[in-house]
Symmetry: C2
Subunit: 439 residues, 2 copies
């Protein structure tokens, strides 16, 4: 698959919370802005009952970092609204991220405390990236986690992403991308096809049947234009009559019928029997009504050939965001280049504390190739874990080095999930499937 | 408030599900594409327990309709991927919406069955707008509904939107806009300030304190740069010590302190007492930790001066999308201009049925000025309801006529909510607060 046609990405520099700029201003004045710093992205917990998380959005993060530039229009806005002072505006005008980013590659699974991403550079250049990085990872990973569970439930049957109408129009494009990473096969969203090269599908809605004087007229119009391989929607009026008409109009080589309402289990069985009786035994059945991973699983024994999923996918199946945070974990004591970094961490009694220090992570496998634990540590990596490290270099001194085709992330996710203990793919609620060990 | 600096809006034409284009192709070939049609946006239900919905995103819908154009790059994509045939591509190249849109103005409340928007024109020009209209209204209205409940809970205390990091980066901008319509006062999201002129706020995070060698150094740096009116974050280490240091550094005219963790009720009382004892009795207290409308309500008696809300706002407080649909409700029997429209509706037994016919809606008031019912009908409007109609013209024969400043929508929402029966603003679960009567 291509990574998509070229498309202009606007500056991402204002996908930023104001406090990042005011912190920059105060640090510039205090002479602390250039202190070497390391920020880490991690979660303190998975959504309740979930057994693993899925890293998604990494490729979009790399685009966002590369396009994080303050042009004159943005600087004028910040000047007119007095968000920051003139020395800070001058600093922003030259902004380019020149630091390093390492992290879990896209599609990898994660657990509470996994150091998903580490951003290293001066405090000034790193602090500005907090919001845009979290926006992307929190949104995309939430969708990918839901997609992964649905892909497990669907087993080898294809999954169609069709949730664009249920979420923000550009969130939808990112959702289609994340769903593809998590295991979906196609999308209805043309912008996702345009931007990311994800295969797009779609034929007709109830409106098309209602537009015509009879259902037969509608089916005839569709088959004449789109061919007998098309998918006819059969639940506008009476399903049994529609199936009969569909096969009469398209012949037994009709591609598929779609059912979008009713008791899908019951209706799918009836429609399959009817299609077979009509000789249309290769005509597939697509179902598309408010599905989530549980509904998909409940149809495992039904004669269903593909699932279209909307709302529950793009809203993360009950968990529309992850709880990833971006925390300063280490920084130098001075602006002197080469000054060593020391671990820092919030430590009030009210909670939200974190573990200081830049962390590595490894996932050793047992003799059967099954992951045993998520080992997270600071300092030297024990030699026996060196072959199991999870983080890769994504940005090297300001240059993006971690870009890859979306299919690579998709394959990585499938492989990473397959290496988890079997209980990872149970849909029932449970604990994270790997223990996180801090060393 | 200005409606925001000018910013280029890209074409919205690919925020479209593929089936809209394949339906267009089939209808063009069948000679039904130009049949005059009316599509309506409505919901069959509110999220469980909610008493009213809030229309938001209307202004963005108008932008999207105006920018729905297929340029060469988009047409090349559709050609290369063979989504539609050449006659359809030629039709798309000239696409401009030339029809009418009427609907509930932005900020208005709605109920199950309220005809929120009606799009009238040829089938071809209307069917293409389904996905982008639903994306915008479903997303923005979900956020506005949560915002409205939070605004009720906060009473007269200011609400700060700070959820950008928890949702898609452009979804966040729309969410800040919808939150403003629903009753929020400011946002942390600079892009929302840039695009929509919403006032932005923000000072510092824990990272700023951790960057410095001591908390005193951090507070000193912040006050020197941002002035004593700034907000100091006091829960990085020990709250009581931080408050003491904050007042020592900034003096008793310190603007505010922010508490981001712990038992907010308890801590707010303690911090208030301490500030008062230190003579900082005008220093405000801002709280910002995982708030939703219930947590805000529980702090009503606490000495809190402002609430910052993130995750629960941008995810619709448990309901990240609305269930609005876009249905063909009437169409002509032929392409002849002036042919009358007849009501149409899906009527299979499996559910998802709807009521045919283009609808008006009225909300009569009782003698005390309180709304009595949502009356929805087709055909003639009864004379006694003529003064209470809800829909306004938004697009007139292709020209946008319904654009308005965002503050107008915000004020409209406040006024519309105030006219609902008192139980509308109870946070407890209940039925829609107005019965919908079909006549």
């Amino acid at each position: 698959m291509e990574t998509g046609l070229p498309v202009a990405v606007p500056s991402t520099a204002l996908f930023t919370d104001q406090y990042e700029l005011t912190m920059l201003q105060a640090a510039l004045r205090a002479g602390t802005a250039e202190r070497r710093s390391a920020f880490e992205v991690f979660t303190r917990r998975l959504p309740e009952g979930r057994r693993y998380g899925v890293v998604a959005g990494t490729g979009r993060v790399l685009d966002a970092v590369e396009n994080f530039r303050f042009d004159d229009q943005l600087l004028d806005f910040l000047r007119e609204t007095r968000v920051v002072d003139e020395p800070t505006l001058r600093w922003l005008a030259d902004y380019r991220f020149t630091g390093d980013i390492v992290g879990y590659p896209e599609g990898e699974v994660y657990f509470p405390g996994s150091p998903i991403l580490r951003v290293e550079g001066t405090f000034a250049e790193c602090v500005l990236l907090e919001t845009v990085i979290l926006s992307i990872l929190n949104h995309d990973s939430a969708v990918a986690a839901a997609a992964s569970r649905m892909a497990v439930a669907a087993a080898d049957r294809p999954l169609i992403e069709m949730g664009a109408r249920r979420t923000h129009e550009l969130g939808a494009v990112a959702a289609a991308r994340a769903a593809y990473v998590g295991g979906f096969d196609t999308t209805s969203d043309l912008a996702a096809g345009f931007r990311y090269g994800i295969p797009t599908v779609g034929t007709s809605a109830h409106a098309f049947t209602l537009l015509h004087d009879t259902e037969r007229d509608a089916f005839t119009a569709q088959v004449e234009s789109l061919g007998q391989g098309t998918t006819l929607l059969v639940d506008t009026y009476d399903v049994a009559e529609a199936v009969r008409t569909a096969v009469e109009v398209a012949g037994p080589d009709l591609g598929a019928v779609r059912i979008d309402s009713g008791d899908l289990l019951l209706v799918a069985h009836r429609v399959r029997r009817q299609l077979d009786e009509l000789g249309a035994d290769r005509t597939r059945i697509v179902v598309t009504s408010d599905l989530d991973e549980y509904a998909i699983a409940s149809l495992a024994a039904a004669p269903v050939d593909a699932y279209g999923v909307g709302t529950q996918l793009v809203t993360g199946s009950g968990h529309p965001t992850c709880s990833m945070v971006y925390k300063l974990v280490a920084r130098a004591d001075s602006e002197t280049p080469g000054a060593p970094l020391r671990a820092v961490a919030k430590r009030s009694t009210g909670g939200k504390t974190s573990l200081g220090g830049a962390k590595w992570a490894a996932r050793p496998l047992d003799a059967g190739g099954v992951a045993e634990a998520e080992v997270v540590g600071t300092g030297e990596v024990p030699p026996e874990l060196a072959g199991h490290l999870l983080q890769v270099q994504l940005v090297d001194r300001g240059t993006v080095v971690g870009r890859e085709p979306l299919d690579t992330a998709r394959e990585r996710h499938r492989a990473a999930r397959a290496r988890l203990p079997m209980s990872a793919t149970q849909l029932s609620r449970g604990e994270p499937v790997l223990p996180v060990e801090h060393v």
